[in-house]
């Protein structure tokens, strides 16, 4: 999945969460987890300590939000940290390219 697509999915999931559409939101979040996990597990990403720290913080928050069905926590985390993580990943990849 490319970055634009992933960003679209992040936005879509956030909207569902802000709208308290719990069932669909959790389904979308569940589908996003593997992609986000792959992102922060990437060696290139982890080579940047600051990025790695944000990534870990993001996952912690998302997992906590998911476990507790805290829609607003997940939505804010996706809109802030997930977008930052995606942005950092893309810029690191561009640097390498």
């Amino acid at each position: 999945m490319d970055a634009r697509e992933l960003e679209g999915k992040i936005d879509h999931a956030s909207i569902l969460m802000y709208q308290n559409q719990e069932e669909e939101a959790l389904r979308e979040m569940n589908a996003l987890f593997p992609y986000l996990k792959a992102l922060i597990g990437d060696d290139l990403f982890n080579s940047n300590k600051q990025a790695a720290a944000i990534g870990i913080s993001m996952m912690r928050e998302l997992i906590d939000g998911y476990k507790n069905c805290d829609m607003l926590l997940m939505a804010d985390c996706l809109q802030e940290k997930a977008i930052i993580v995606l942005g950092i990943y893309e810029s690191l990849r561009d640097t390498v390219d």
Binding site: M17, N20, L72
Partner: protein
């Protein structure tokens, strides 16, 4: 205190004085606070367990509220039921998409959150908005009643139920309670509407008769006050219903006589009297009770509990003391209460049958032990009722065949056939038992029929031995109560009844003018073509006419007679999104014409029943 907080509280005290009083009386239990976030914004949070929950986005609260509001469509007459007030931003965004036909009913489960919002956010626009009503769920004694005060039949398919993010997870039980309240209110409205359309003229006829009759009668408040002087903890109320199992154990009631309050529903009367038992109270509340229920039995000297729909034939034919229970309509009740000097308590949530109403009344009187007899709530042994009346409602087998049948568990663990209606009554009893756990003990001494979960099952013989221990003649106690109104007060109330005819004639004249007005508006509208401003002005005039009629007290009578016409119109008038404005005006005119035509029916019935 911040300036806007002061303003908030002044407005709240002005527009919600009852809620304001509740806030001051209640102890605060939740830990709630407000946090500053970016750009001078704030967000409310609360602690649950070891976790902080934020009730809006910490990134962009207004943006999140807008996204939330985008979920819900806007359309005229839609009623938004919102679980959660939060910081008011979500409510504000929803209100922005509403017009004056919409209502927003907010159920806030946490008074502490509301107080935090009032102290930290400018809410003037929301508090002053007449489209909003607020209910504190935890402090509400009857959600169903609150909801019934806000919606009518025409709203039933126009309700949008919204839950603010986090509120369903933080307050799941209260959320369920609100949903249950909405469902219960919807069922009541549909059932009342269907009943009115079935009973048509009988409703206003019976009401007119009973309004007149109650002037010289007694009321249930008097019974409650009389019973307050006794210690009811040692005296049970026995509710005798007309299920098939009554035939098996009715004789046992003899041992309970003089040691309990024996309340007999009208359909069980024949069986009870023929067994040689004198009821302490007979309850008859249905508009269409078959005369056969009372054939061949001596009914002189009974104590009757009646309501506004009790069939007049019963009270005309059987002498006895009548105690009216519950009210009639707002105007009449107010006038009567002024003469009485006290309030006629409504019986909350009577359940829809004479048996459930008897239970509600027994609870209202203060009984702590209620024994159910003949409460089969199923077709025990293939019969619908006690043998004395089984054919009073027509052929028994055909009756059962025509019911929408379901299977329930019997008290012996067997499968029994019942119908949907009895199933609803069963669930009503079960909810009452659950809601009153620890306060009221309910014993099912039917010895047959469906299992009522939560009730203790005993034989009637054992229940009488166990609970009927004190000698107390409640029949005499109640019989000695005298009518509360003297000749002078009765005279004033009779004058009010007399004035009803004149009021209806005035309304008839007003309706005639309104119909001509609307006809003129139709013609103007047709000529308006592309003049949108003029069209809007005409529609606003129509809205204003409708609002004026909502305050007309006599119109309530005409709504009984025009129930069918109202049903046909309201099924479409709010729901049809494609309805043109011309059609709306046409339909309004037809409704007012229906009301006009029905004024003569009212006057006919008034002269037959109230004079």
């Amino acid at each position: 205190m911040k300036e806007y907080a002061k303003e908030n509280w002044e407005l709240f005290n002005k527009y919600y004085p009852e809620l304001s009083k509740k806030i001051q009386e209640e102890e605060q239990v939740e830990t709630v606070w407000t946090e500053d976030i970016n750009n001078g914004e704030k967000v409310i949070a609360l602690t649950r367990g070891n976790r902080a929950w934020y009730l809006n986005s910490r990134l962009d609260p207004d943006g999140a509220a807008q996204i939330y509001s985008d979920r819900y469509k806007s359309r005229i007459y839609l009623c938004y039921f919102i679980f959660g007030f939060g910081d008011g931003k979500h409510i504000r965004k929803l209100l922005e998409k509403c017009d004056e036909t919409n209502q927003v009913i907010v159920f806030e489960p946490s008074m502490e959150i509301f107080i935090e919002a009032m102290n930290n956010f400018a809410l003037k626009d929301i508090l002053m908005d007449t489209r909003i009503a607020v209910c504190f769920v935890r402090q509400s004694t009857d959600l169903k009643d609150f909801i019934l005060s806000k919606i009518t039949y025409s709203h039933l398919d126009l309700i949008e139920y919204c839950i603010l993010p986090g509120y369903d997870v933080l307050f799941p039980e209260l959320c369920s309670q609100v949903i249950d309240g909405i469902i219960a209110a919807s069922v009541t409205i549909r059932s009342n509407d269907a009943t009115i359309r079935v009973f048509k003229r009988e409703f206003p006829q019976n009401m007119l008769f009973n309004m007149k009759n109650m002037i010289k009668g007694c009321n249930c408040v008097q019974i409650k006050e009389k019973l307050k002087r006794l210690d009811l903890s040692g005296i049970p109320a026995i509710i005798v219903s007309a299920g098939p199992s009554l035939d098996k154990n009715v004789m046992e009631l003899k041992k309970a006589q003089g040691k309990s309050l024996i309340i007999v529903v009208d359909s069980a009367l024949k069986t009870v009297i023929r067994a040689g038992i004198r009821p302490d109270i007979v309850i008859s509340i249905d508009a269409r009770v078959p005369d056969k229920f009372f054939e061949g039995i001596e009914l002189e000297g009974m104590n009757w509990i009646c309501m506004n729909q009790t069939k007049p034939w019963i009270l005309k034919n059987f002498k006895g003391k009548v105690f009216y229970c519950g009210g009639f309509n707002e105007k009449w009740d107010k006038i009567v209460e002024e003469e009485l000097g006290y309030t006629i308590d409504p019986i909350r949530d009577e359940g829809g049958s004479v048996s459930t109403t008897s239970f509600a009344i027994a609870k209202y009187f203060g009984f702590k032990t209620i024994i159910l007899v003949g409460q089969d709530l199923a077709f025990t042994d293939g019969r619908s009722h006690t043998s004395e009346i089984v054919n009073a409602i027509g052929d028994n087998d055909k009756y059962i065949e025509n019911r929408s049948q379901v299977i329930v568990e019997g008290i012996h663990g067997e499968e029994l056939v019942t119908d949907m209606q009895m199933m609803l009554y069963k669930k009503w009893f079960e909810k009452q038992i659950e809601d009153n756990k620890g306060e009221v003990l309910v014993i099912d001494a039917t010895e047959g029929g469906a299992r009522i979960y939560g009730a203790e099952e005993e034989t009637l013989s054992d229940a009488v031995k166990k609970y009927c221990l004190m000698e107390v003649d409640l029949f005499d106690c109640i019989d000695m109560i005298e009518p509360p109104l003297d000749e002078e007060k009765r005279g004033r109330l009779n004058k009010k009844i007399i004035s009803m005819k004149g009021e209806m004639l005035k309304l008839k004249e007003k309706l005639s003018k309104t119909i001509r007005q609307i006809q003129k508006m139709r013609d103007e509208f047709a000529l308006s073509m592309g003049d949108i401003k003029n069209k809007k002005e005409i529609l606003l005039r129509l809205k204003s006419i409708n609002e004026e009629y909502e305050k007309e007290e006599m119109l309530e009578w005409l709504q009984f007679y025009a129930a069918e016409e109202e049903y046909e119109l309201f099924e479409n008038i709010y729901k049809d999104e494609d309805m043109s404005e011309e059609e709306l005006i046409n339909k309004s005119q037809r409704l007012y014409e229906a009301y006009y035509q029905k004024t003569d029916l009212f006057i006919e019935d008034y002269e037959a029943y109230a004079v």
